[in-house]
Symmetry: C2
Subunit: 495 residues, 2 copies
């Protein structure tokens, strides 16, 4: 067998295990009966060990070295580069450490769930301390060229460092905060949803499925289920699954969750299938993934053009809803209001939620902020930035699952997603014409085609920043996003 | 590591792959979107290869030999014995053959589905010929001490041969056929379900879930979904899944499918968890598995005692159903009528369906019956035994999935299930008292406890016949079954 074939065959085995892991993870969140949890944890840990063994096999290292010296096409080069990164990282981590860390994460997740439910940070703090200690140990194993936090940031968005995020976030904050103040002072009154209407879950489901299908999500190659927290799992070639949750009092919560997850899902459905089970066949980064969900959720879904198309469907499913027009629904969908919970935040305050988490993570890993100080640090920063004080930790530093899973350095990719989305939409409109007109026409296939061509079909053949440059003509920049929100909210709030 | 620990660790890895395979199989039948089929086929074939590699690893062979010479407890001996059987069989089959055979089965399954849908045996016959050729090749690889068909029979119920089945089936037929004739000549009129009632699927689901819970199926450690053909998948320790299908015109179809699959499910839920992922932790045989489903479906579910308990629930869910009593419903549920389809057959004709398949399989493998002759052989035997001629092959030799999956020798285990069920119930009643009274009391836990103790908790530590002897005090025999049906149907039909 040639080195290339042997390399690809080994990589595919590794990624087959990853796909199985994702499938069992999807099932865990959507179908698994409660008593199945213990066996599920055990099999997932077993798969993690199998993956670690395949990844650290010295023969894989030899093949990577051999191919690095060979003449390869772009796609193979990208595969080799990514596998080099993964291999080097994996061989630095002792197997015992990986297994202990996996176990610590499982235990910590359970403790976090209990702590959040009972609003009891102390119940979680010793687990969080252990995780942070282990993550610091991991940073030491991996080696650290810049600051320790940089090692974590790089894991979730290759190439992004503190020295990239610091000025980016500062610039964003400088223009978001005054905009937020103007909105808060505006006299525009956002209408309340009429009380007493129950939005049937079946009807919500049908309505959301219609929107998702309209976006282009292929339900012959995917499905939608329920879970506590909505997510998208690109499980297998031609089998992508999204989830949502329902609130009988608020149909928007489900709608925008479905548009968000369908955006992720379209990316997964558009990845190059010939590269399945290899790195280049996968989405390039969390930031780019989030750009796809946010583009559909916010820049398409939260517009009056969208509501002009969706309103007749909405009325079909909810016949007792009053006779509001698209502009009114648009305003409801875009209400800006500083509040405690990130996942429910509007487009203006969302990035402030992210920056707050970024600053705290930086303090933890670069300045040694003790775990015991996290709640007060969170609360005082939150009060300063949002003007309101979280009444408890469940609405404060206990709200997100990420830390309990050891995912430090993940949050900033959400903001990157918002920025990339705006930059992509700006470039798209230059090529295919006014986006609002296209949305209003009710035929959104041009939008999907552009994304397929410029983003999805490229898999991971380029790095995230390269991909954005190739798609938009410019390196990633916050300008399009700031222009977008300033224009959109000035109009909505008559600023 | 000791030989025992290394052996168990290798066996567990093998069975973890099997559990993953079952999980992906369950998903394929219940959740997978249609376009996911190709990738699913590919990953299942990959898992089959991984299993074959683990199973044929010479180190496993060494460990088996070493442990065969050691002093082991019963459970370990049973594990070693079963792994010896599997190992010897696997090493005799070339890897290329296994992979080709897996592929031929997948292709054949698709061809069978099309052939059945279009009532076109010729569309399937070349696939069936290929499969039979390959199965004959497999018999040659495995080596054949008695007749070729014996090799296949032994795969599904260890220890059972043509020389066991021939007299067993002859004896059964001798008493079933006259009973059937008497029933056909009886003047008892089985009432028709009233026309025009639609049995809502949601209500059917709730009713069936209630019955299943009453049986003792633990829905905290299991779930129920829909699939084209009902089945039970004992996927993971504490995660057992059953499926059913719904017919708006006939609530009995779903009810008895759920009782059947819950019977299988209770067995899975009662297996010894400390032996998970090893042979002894699994159900001992298809025959014993079927005994559990048939016992609950027929001997408990198709009785007037059952209907005395279930009727109030039934009326709660189907309020427009007429005021029938338990005896009347019992008669409906036990209607005897020779008909074409095995899975819909009553308890009297069911075993005739099995014997017909057994005779044809024996002709194929022991007498070289050509594939082209199967339809006419089927039809002429069917007409002779049932008194009716199948109008087409879809209602004849194309009805079952088994052959298209290469499962020759499987059918007889269904009849064993019926016999074991009757023998178990007879023994049970000697120990815990009159079963009808227990059913009528509405508290069925004594029945489940007896089955847990005598059957479920033993896993595969004994061979099937040994287990039946240990549970009932007697070697397997058709007498209890014949006594049971003669008594039951004489009463129902006033013979």
């Amino acid at each position: 067998m040639s080195a290339e074939l042997e390399f690809i065959s080994r990589v595919r085995d590794l990624y087959r295990f990853e796909a199985i892991q994702s499938h069992l993870g999807w099932d865990q969140e959507t179908k698994m009966p409660p008593k199945g949890a213990e066996a599920r944890g055990e099999i997932l840990a077993w798969i993690a060990t199998q993956r670690h063994q395949l990844l650290t096999d010295p023969r894989l290292g030899e093949l990577i070295s051999e191919l690095e010296e060979s003449d390869c096409d772009n796609w193979l080069i990208a595969n080799v580069t990514e596998m080099r990164r993964k291999y080097d990282e994996a061989v630095k981590l002792p197997e015992e450490f990986v297994s202990e860390y996996t176990k610590a994460c499982s235990e910590s997740l359970v403790a976090w769930q209990e702590a959040r439910a009972n609003n009891d940070f102390n119940h979680f703090s010793s687990h969080l301390e252990k995780l942070i200690r282990m993550v610091n140990q991991k940073i030491e194993y991996l080696g650290c060229e810049n600051t320790p936090y940089d090692v974590l940031l790089d894991e979730y968005e290759v190439g992004m460092k503190v020295t990239d995020y610091d000025p980016l976030f500062a610039g964003l904050k400088q223009r978001i905060v005054p905009l937020l103040h103007s909105i808060m002072e505006s006299e525009t009154v956002v209408p309340r949803l009429p009380e007493g209407i129950r939005f049937s879950i079946d009807e919500q489901e049908q309505f959301c499925l219609k929107v998702s299908r309209k976006m282009g999500f292929d339900f012959e190659a995917g499905r939608m289920d329920r879970s506590t927290h909505p997510f998208c799992a690109g499980l297998w070639p031609s089998d992508t699954r999204i989830t949502t949750r329902f609130d009988e009092l608020d149909p928007f919560s489900c709608l925008y969750a479905v548009m968000h997850e369908s955006g992720h899902g379209l990316y997964e459905q558009g990845l190059p299938k010939q590269h399945s089970y290899t790195p280049v066949g996968k989405a390039v980064s969390l930031g780019v993934h989030e750009s796809q969900s946010r583009l559909w959720e916010n820049q398409i879904g939260r517009t009056s053009s969208f509501w002009k198309v969706a309103l007749p469907w909405f009325k079909e499913h909810f016949s007792d809803f009053p006779d509001w027009d698209a502009e009114r629904l648009d305003l409801v969908a875009n209400e800006v209001k500083p509040d405690y919970i990130r996942v429910e935040a509007d487009e203006i305050t969302y990035n402030l939620h992210i920056m707050l988490r970024y600053e705290i993570e930086k303090k933890i890993f670069n300045e040694g902020l003790p775990v015991g100080k996290i709640p007060e640090t969170w609360n005082s920063m939150f009060e300063e930035w949002f003007g309101i004080l979280p009444p408890n930790d469940t609405l404060g530093c206990l709200q997100d699952v990420h830390w309990s899973m050891g995912a430090f350095g993940y949050f900033p990719t959400y903001t990157l997603g918002n920025l990339y989305a705006a930059q992509l939409l700006e470039a798209m409109s230059k090529e295919i014409g006014n986006i609002d007109s296209i949305i209003e026409s009710g035929n959104w296939s041009k939008i999907l085609e552009w994304l397929r061509d410029k983003v999805h079909s490229n898999g991971s053949v380029m790095e995230p920043a390269e991909l954005i440059k190739s798609a938009t003509g410019n390196i990633p920049s916050p300008e399009p996003f700031l222009n977008y929100i300033e224009k959109k909210y000035s109009k909505l709030y008559n600023l």
